[in-house]
Symmetry: none
DNA sequence: TCAAAATCTGCATTATTTTGCGTGTTTTGA
DNA sequence: TCAAAACACGCAAAATAATGCAGATTTTGA
């Protein structure tokens, strides 16, 4: 058995059982414990696992790297955005705001979609730069650091000149009375401009955003064409939203 | 049996069994282990398999994540860019081009530096969005996908209006006669604009870029104020560059 | 067609890597 | 605190690789 095979074996067992024990591995692979220890040290150096006294455990998520974006509730978000894939067609002009839900959406966009996408979110642009058939335009401006999006007059100016078929807007908060609201003033302005520029407005969010509010109004419910949540469209908690005329996916 | 046939045989066996062992192959094909090893080295160079001690295994496709940026020779690049840290001061206006060397530089910029930085590279902007004291401005435009930078007229227009104290330009190729040259026309234009906009022009690169050339000229050696390489500034291979009046760090 | 050049292959030699074992140290848990 | 378990380190044997060289084979170009 090759060393590389052994390493694979160890990694597989590690993921399956959350941990590996040096003595068990030595027995299972019929090798000395020293060899196993050396293997574990190597894998530890490569940051593939964390060696501990007696064996090794899975590496704990490393949040210090900017490029390692941690999306909370990624699985749920995948289910939400999957519903919206049917809204995509070839040759559309699309605007995408920031937010982790939109990032998950960007990941799921099919590789053969031919479209033009405008965005002002760094992670979303990075993700979309994978897609060979998408014309990607980044809207520049001053960076809002934590959200990793550009904001300000530069962004507004560019957005207001776009004629888009559809826009995907992340939502901080939504309720029947105020509609879509945001915590930041500048972001709310940018989103207003996005809505103005687009024929169809889509917002995707999980149901815990429902019936909450933030200081800065983006738009009325009426201005949204479609909302996409994790709930069944006929769910009673969406009753009032349905009444307001929004299409619910 | 032709070598090409052998390679096919090896690849087939590899896919079937997940691994191949040098000695087995030598036996099966009735050839010396040396020949098999040479074959495996060739296939490894073509990235068709991964040679390991004792044989070879399938290549693991780890590159699927956009956010997992692989910087070749990162350690060497760290040493290069560390020399350039002394050029940074509070309250400077800085322009940074793309490239992995500049990305490494961005990582090493001290957290307490107060400055304004313009860039048109997604990874560099992501990295700098970490820094609490930097005013970060992203220069928007059409994305060039593989390099993850914006290009085109939008970029030129913004850059040409900046008045920067210093700019850091990545280099594809440099030589004494043509100066800085680039493989892409559009990138060369953007870099020209950067140089125009900056009081001081700095270029960082490893010595293997020295004495090479690409189709599109960016600028003369004279227009560079400072170059930073992995070599000692007094290294003989930098002699001609020194003569041309560039400051070498 | 033929000779020179390029390529392929195996062998011998040398270098490197892997592995188990002995020895001494560190960690663990009662 | 103490004994057992786990570990680290150096060493040596075995396995595997790299390298130079020579003979064989193929390709090239006149």
């Amino acid at each position: 058995m090759l060393k590389a095979e052994r390493h694979k074996f160890i990694m597989t067992k590690l993921v399956e059982e959350q941990k590996v024990v040096t003595t068990d591995l030595a027995l299972a692979l019929d090798l000395s414990e020293d060899t196993i220890r050396r293997d574990l040290n190597e894998l530890d150096n490569k940051k593939l696992l964390e060696k501990v006294y007696g064996g090794a455990i899975l590496v704990t998520e490393n949040t210090s790297d900017v490029f390692n974006i941690n999306i909370s509730g990624e699985e749920e978000k995948k289910q939400i955005v999957a519903k919206a894939l049917s809204l995509l067609h070839d040759d559309q002009v699309i605007i995408m705001s920031g937010g982790s839900t939109n990032l998950v959406f960007a990941k799921l966009i099919p590789a053969d979609l031919k479209a033009t996408i405008y965005t002002y979110s760094l992670p979303i642009a990075m993700q979309l730069s994978q897609h060979p058939n998408i014309d990607l335009i980044f809207i520049g401006g001053k960076m809002q650091k934590n959200a990793m999006v550009t904001i300000g007059m530069d962004v507004i100016q560019v957005v207001s000149k776009i004629k888009a078929d559809i826009c995907f807007i992340g939502a901080s908060s939504i309720n029947v009375k105020q509609g879509l609201t945001e915590i930041g003033y500048e972001i709310s302005i940018v989103k207003k401009a996005m809505i103005e520029a687009s024929d169809r407005v889509v917002s995707m969010f999980s149901s815990d955003k429902l019936n909450t509010k933030m200081p800065h109004v983006v738009c009325d419910l009426k201005q949204l064409d479609t909302i996409v949540t994790n709930l069944d469209p006929r769910d009673p908690s969406l009753e009032e939203y349905r009444k307001s005329g929004v299409f619910i996916l």
